[in-house]
Chain length 144, copies 2
């Protein structure tokens, strides 16, 4: 469904959100340990998310990654997915035609479209705040 990079990116963002709520910056080392992902690869993805204004980085000693406390609830899953995987999952044809087009649909179009729209709605209405809360409460997990 999502690329590995995107999976790591979402898990990392949730972990950063949880820690930022507690006023703690985190390093790629700590992040990749807590979400069980390859460190250098994860660091690349974090840089990508910084460039896309999903998270913030602070360079130098005592630096790390964080998210402004008051924006955590405004960051949607869709922003992370689009930053890393692009928007093909929202608009692309399920059977790989050049574009999904009502006037030139593939045989799966009608049935696929509704699922794709549900997925888009879900990603656009889910924010980091609620996901981080699940982790905080021990109801959900980021690894294993």
């Amino acid at each position: 469904m999502f690329s590995k990079a995107c999976e790591y990116g979402i898990r990392a963002s949730i972990f950063i959100a949880k820690n930022s709520r507690e006023g703690r910056r985190v390093s790629p080392r700590e992040i990749s340990k807590e979400i069980d992902s390859p460190q250098a690869f994860t660091a690349k993805i974090l840089q990508d998310l910084v460039r896309h204004d999903v998270i913030k980085s602070v360079q130098g000693a005592y630096g790390g990654f964080e998210i402004d406390k008051d924006t955590i609830a405004t960051i949607k899953l869709s922003q992370i997915v689009e930053a890393i995987d692009g928007n093909g999952i929202y608009s692309g044809c399920g059977l790989g035609l050049r574009e999904c087009n009502e006037q030139h649909p593939c045989p799966m179009h009608d049935k696929f479209k509704s699922i794709r729209n549900d997925l888009r709605d879900m990603l656009e209405t889910t924010n980091l705040e609620e996901l981080a809360t699940g982790i905080k409460n021990g109801e959900a997990f980021l690894k294993v």
Copy 2:
């Protein structure tokens, strides 16, 4: 969503189904032309589908690929997807945890599960007969 191989496999199966209803066998050359896919690569995928009993091949002169007329309506999209991409899309965790587990859910689990189940239901209730009919009637297309 699906791999290229899976997209080609579904499009090819629909094309074969349409032709088998008309009593015509088709070659990889004709298939890849009609679904606009790389020929040799498509041929590999067709072999895979034969091994998984989704389609039938007839070797030698006047051979080709076909589907028994009376089984076309019984072949579900899910069989093709599972043959090529495996069943990860049905059972895998959306955030890449080792397994999707109610007792150890990722933060996206509840919301993701319902979409994944809708997708599975769609693939399990859609058969080649109806898809081929769309093509036959000119309501749907397999390329461009």
